[in-house]
Symmetry: C2
Subunit: 366 residues, 2 copies
Amino acid sequence: MPRSTPGRRPATLASLAAELGVSRTTVSNAYNRPDQLSPELRKRVLDTARVLGYPGPDPVARSLRTRKAGAVGLLLTENLSYAFRDPGAIEFLEGLALACEDAGQGLHLVPASPEREDVASVHRAGVDGFVVYSVPEDDPHLAAVLERPLPTVIADQPRAASVDHVGIDDHAAIQRLARHVIELGHKHVGVLCMRLGRDRNDGFVSLARQHSARYHVQRARLAGLRDAFEAAGVDWNTVAVVERFDHSLDDGARAAGQLLDRDPQVTAILCTSDLLALGALDEASRRGLRVPQDLTVTGFDGIAEALRTELTTVRQPVLDKGRTAGELLLSTKDPGRPRSVTLDTELITGKTSAGPRGYEEPWFGP
Amino acid sequence: MPRSTPGRRPATLASLAAELGVSRTTVSNAYNRPDQLSPELRKRVLDTARVLGYPGPDPVARSLRTRKAGAVGLLLTENLSYAFRDPGAIEFLEGLALACEDAGQGLHLVPASPEREDVASVHRAGVDGFVVYSVPEDDPHLAAVLERPLPTVIADQPRAASVDHVGIDDHAAIQRLARHVIELGHKHVGVLCMRLGRDRNDGFVSLARQHSARYHVQRARLAGLRDAFEAAGVDWNTVAVVERFDHSLDDGARAAGQLLDRDPQVTAILCTSDLLALGALDEASRRGLRVPQDLTVTGFDGIAEALRTELTTVRQPVLDKGRTAGELLLSTKDPGRPRSVTLDTELITGKTSAGPRGYEEPWFGP
DNA sequence: GCAGCAGACCGTAACGGTTCAGAAGCCGTT
DNA sequence: AACGGCTTCTGAACCGTTACGGTCTGCTGC
């Protein structure tokens, strides 16, 4: 570990050049363009560098000059560590990391806790572009990202004009799921959804709040459910929607409990995420409700745990989404018109959905 | 989104200063030291910046001057996306992310796939320090990190002199677990371990390979097992050790199968990770072996899934490890003697360990 | 004997900021 | 009138590198 000689200023390209009696250009070339100088001189440069403890060109100075940071910024606007709690976020991260890796780019996670609205971290990030994942439309960090003159890709939400976008058709996907539930015969249902705004509201959601939700994805999914059920003759005003700020199994369970307490006759609980649905399953079993005989539960996302549980849900290609976001960003050349990629989803009919009590198909045993 | 006026060069601090007829210093102060200029002038600066589309001081140029990048580098030396597959790695990342967030620092994931030995990504990373997580001792990326004149913290492995370190006492921890298994009466055991070097070797491991393992953690755990069993009169030469390059449930299952095929009489399988142990459980059930009656299985790490399964294992505070690594790094001031933090572990006696067939404690029913 | 050319190396000008030691102006004090 | 102190703003140095457009040397070919 040849750290620079203590007591002396650390070596720079210039000091190394001076020591060698060559120009800075030559030293630079020794590192970056071996073909631009003779092998002998190059070896002499590199050897002397070792002796002097010169660690090679400073990355920051190089970035300034070349206008390339070699890294992609990721904005999540949650406690940064949230990214590592949520299965969907992890998979997205993985996809994005794959894309970055392929391109030899680093992935710079920007600290952006929702509490202290410290936008400085966005300003301070030395990156070549941003990926924004699932932030509310009125997020100040998002605004800060958009102010920077860098290519940006937004995943999921919010849909902003003039910025590249990758996501799914949430409205259509959940509508398909809703129709499946409707066809099973369910008329009296309840809904569990994720946070609709930056303010905490753990409880029932008014129609107004549904409409003014700051998260496009949640808004679209609720609207999809509403459209499907109203088309089936269900008055959406009568459908209880319970919101949870935090996204965890326990919160799903608690939300389901809240719903079942107020509206015990529901025969199906539709959740806008798998995690909430898995929590609802826990709560159901705690109450002695059999799924799907006594209660139908559906999710959204298709996380591994949900597929293992055979939850009825919508699978979306989260990994692809992350990778596509990265590829989109890294392939940005000229600022043409913003691109938008919509990925496919798949309805997964698992074992947590069936007709409501009294509506079962007749049983013709062997 | 006031991007800079097209057709003109993007605004800089200098051009903004010229436009305003003030010095660059003043513009800089407007952003960084509001108390250094009159509120009116500051407002004028900021307003004009908005009009001109000046996005604020360039982060890279600032970093060059201040010699602070505002980010911590993380070296994993796996496909970058590996970090998001392994539960332990995720938890470590979460802890590290928490520490970074508290300090307002970004987290820069360095792409370092083991295949292409492209050390450039390490040289190119504009960061204030590195955290190195679980890489082999002979990794070229590690060497590249150590060559950079930056504070560095190594987590788990390798133990390198002169660099800060955080980890656990793997040797002692697994020894305690081994003694638990020994006390249950097991004499005929097998071992599953993770990769021992950068070369793939999916199969049985020679003693020589055990000794020359390039992963300190695995080497220490194997040594701990060896010492415990030899102390109990078991000849370590007779103990089959199966290695797996990839770290997944399936690989654990396959490794267990390989072990059971060759050595069907083993009464216990000790694994150096929970993931391998969980895989072994799968394989046992596939073979109709009841755990723990027919087979004892133990793990190491204490990941959530293992605790849920009530696996007998060693719990280590992975999240704390990540956080400690970050705190250590970010608190580095002067390069005193290298610090080393050893975290506590806990033996968890789950439901996957019991005495071997014929050695059960006598049963005195109620 | 000289034009032409390739290879090897170099000088200068950015890149976009921050910082520090003052200067200018203004006010109140002695 | 001289002085000190305060606020506000400035000039110049510096951070470490790479891009650009050269120059210089020596050799080939005729």
